[in-house]
């Protein structure tokens, strides 16, 4: 038994080293950083301990801009992507033969490089001296006015960002919901038909409650994912997100850490912990709601 115990720890050793060094220690360290005032990266010294870093971050207009952007993005993309995924999955489950082909197509964005395809999106939406871009041509076709979605008004930029985010996150949600729908036994639908329920009623009273655990799972992971938005924004608007006014909380953290505005790990840590607090709170709220609503 004892020998076995020693051997077990030996097998665990590599993962313990990696996790300890790159996850547990940083977790403690980030708290310390966030409390060290006036930290100097070069000399690794600090002047005091307190909450100044938090206060600084919360007063920083760039941070507030990032928070605002992130919240708007979350509020748009989570409901839109979840709803759209539900509709698409329902559609998929009703079309028979074509289903596999469509599923494959819909999954493609999952395996693409966010940065690379973001560049394509940028080109489709951007107005340049040479051309108005594909999307503006389409708008023109329907009689609308052209807009520069990449360097134009805020709402236009937010629209592209939301659109691209939905495009990226949809494959995962469609996949989860189609398998959830497929796992609902056919007998329930037969029973509901015998009981005389209409198609809409079957959807609201049978289908949705049956897959509600999965819907809530998607909403929860959707919130967490959307709050961490960053690379999609970089892909569309470039690395200088503060200048574009399209920074996100995560982007703010990285900017504080590195780059032209970097070198402030204390501010970055404080911002990261604020983000964690936000995500944590929202997840707990989500879980409380789902505990009430979801029927296991």
């Amino acid at each position: 038994m004892k020998k076995n115990g020693l051997k077990a720890w030996l097998y665990l050793l590599p993962s313990l080293i990696f996790l300890g060094f790159f996850m547990v220690y940083p977790l403690v360290d980030v708290l310390i950083y966030s409390l060290e005032e006036g930290y100097n990266s070069a000399s690794q010294t600090f002047t005091g301990v307190g909450l100044y870093n938090y206060a600084y971050v919360l007063r920083d207009p760039y941070f507030m801009q990032a928070v605002k952007n992130t919240f708007i993005l979350v509020m748009i993309t989570v409901p839109v992507s979840t709803g759209l995924a539900l509709l698409i999955s329902l559609g998929l489950s009703s079309i028979g033969k074509l289903r596999e082909l469509y599923q494959t197509i819909y999954f493609l964005p999952y395996v693409t490089n966010t940065l690379a395809v973001g560049l394509v999106f940028m080109i489709l939406f951007k107005k340049t001296p040479y051309t108005d871009g594909m999307v503006n041509l389409l708008i023109g076709l329907f009689g609308g006015r052209s807009v520069d979605f990449i360097e134009g008004p805020y709402w236009a930029k937010m629209f592209v960002l939301s659109f691209y985010t939905v495009w990226i996150v949809l494959p995962f949600k469609i996949l989860i919901l189609t398998s959830a729908l497929a796992s609902v036994k056919k007998d329930y639908y037969s029973a509901a038909r015998i009981d005389g329920a209409s198609g809409f009623k079957i959807f609201t009273r049978i289908t949705v409650p049956m897959i509600s655990p999965m819907i809530f799972y998607l909403i929860i992971t959707g919130f967490i994912g959307a709050f961490k938005a960053y690379s999609d924004s970089v892909a569309l608007f470039g690395t200088n997100l503060n200048a574009a006014g399209m920074n996100t909380i995560v982007g703010y953290i990285y900017d504080m850490l590195y780059g032209d505005s970097g070198g402030y790990p204390s501010y970055a840590s404080a911002a990261a912990l604020i983000l964690f607090a936000i995500v944590f709170t929202i997840t707990v709220i989500n879980l409380l709601i789902s505990r009430k609503k979801v029927n296991a």
């Binding site: 509901a192 038909r193 015998i194 009981d195 329920a197 049956m210």
Partner: protein, 369 residues
């Protein structure tokens, strides 16, 4: 309400996508279920029983043929308008609703003139619950109910809208042995109390025999025999039906008829007057053997199982087509287990002759081709 099926046929496209062949699940089925009876639809798995049930309920449309409820042709009527109640094999209770919500669900869907007020719905649901004796379980969800309780809820849900016809798919197969006995009596009681024409599907002959007013035996989508359970048991139309009913099963031998005598091996075991000479399959019910010193039919004795009321004699014979012959005899017969053979006389009404090729029953006086 009586149910009449006329030439009901159902084809399914073959699973193998390449072949154009169709699978015939139900083939030219015609029979009538009298009003207020409990009918068992009996057959081995995969014989099209459930398809039959689905066609009666309207969940599946027949390829051809008609379904009548009373005088109404309901072939094209969608299931929700047929007024049938259906209990699924796995009950299909909505897991997110309580027992009460499950039972109320069909009532909520009623429209127009049939629409009920909340109080009426509750009253009807409670009546149904009382009938199946689950009144104290109404607030529980299916996951908190035992298999037997779930089934009662499912029956209540099927009965609550007062269907003209109640259909049950393998109602007992998901229950353990003890509960099965109890539940089948319960089913019988509920059916008697409501007087609803009831059709249930089963692969268990004992289940079908024990509670049905009438059984319908089918094989590979084809109707084989229909009648009162005892009649079908006593007078099977073919070897399949004879083998399918009865436990322990019927013993089948290779035999032949020569000059009005039935031969098994070299022994002339029984008179068979009026049957023309031919090789035959001989089916002998376990209770058809009467042990008798110097009887006409002699078998090798393998062993004896004493069961108290009667005795099971296990023997062997070269012409037998299975592993062991099982004869059930009264315990008063003393079988000498020291001996190597045992002799019997046969009860003529427990011995059936079948055509060796087609398995069709051969009756004395009939021409057997």
């Amino acid at each position: 309400m009586n149910v009449r099926l006329e030439g009901l046929t159902k084809h399914f496209p073959s699973r193998n996508k390449k072949s154009k062949e169709v699978v015939v699940a139900v083939d030219d089925f015609s029979f009538e279920i009298p009003d207020g009876k409990l009918v068992g639809l009996l057959g081995p798995s995969g014989c099209g029983k459930s398809t039959m049930l689905n066609m009666i309920s309207g969940l599946e449309k027949p390829t051809s043929g008609r379904v009548f409820f009373g005088d109404d042709d309901v072939t094209d009527v969608p299931p929700e308008l047929r007024g049938v109640g259906l209990v699924f094999q796995n009950y299909a209770l909505y897991p997110h609703m309580t027992a009460l919500q499950n039972i109320l669900f069909p009532l909520e869907n009623l429209k127009g003139a049939k629409k009920l007020s909340k109080d009426e719905m509750l009253k009807r649901a409670n009546e149904a619950a009382r009938l199946v004796q689950i009144t104290e379980l109404m607030e529980r969800k299916p996951s908190a109910l035992s298999g037997g309780q779930q089934q009662r809820v499912a029956i209540a849900r099927a009965l609550v809208k007062m269907p003209k016809i109640l259909l049950l798919d393998e109602p007992l197969s998901n229950l353990d042995a003890r509960l099965r006995l109890q539940t089948r009596e319960e089913l019988r009681r509920i059916q008697r109390e409501t007087g609803i024409t009831t059709v249930f599907v089963t692969h268990d002959q004992e289940e079908a025999m024990s509670i049905s007013d009438m059984i319908v035996v089918m094989k590979k989508g084809v109707l084989n025999q229909i009648g009162r359970p005892q009649d079908v048991y006593d007078d099977p139309v073919n070897l399949f039906v004879a083998k399918f009913l009865g436990n322990p099963p019927i013993n089948v031998f290779e035999g032949s008829v020569r000059g009005g005598k039935l031969f098994i091996g070299d022994e002339d075991v029984m008179d068979a007057e009026g049957v023309s000479d031919a090789p035959v399959s001989v089916g002998i019910r376990p209770e058809g053997f009467v042990p008798k010193e110097g009887g006409r039919f002699t078998c090798d004795l393998v062993g004896v199982e004493v069961m108290g009321r009667d005795t099971s004699v296990i023997c062997n014979h070269p012409a037998f087509d299975g592993a062991n012959i099982r004869a059930i005899v009264s315990a008063e017969n003393r079988i000498d287990t020291e001996k190597e053979t045992v002799s019997f006389d046969l009860k003529p009404n427990k011995v059936f002759l079948f055509d060796k090729e087609t398995g069709r029953r051969i009756r004395p006086g009939e021409e057997n081709r």
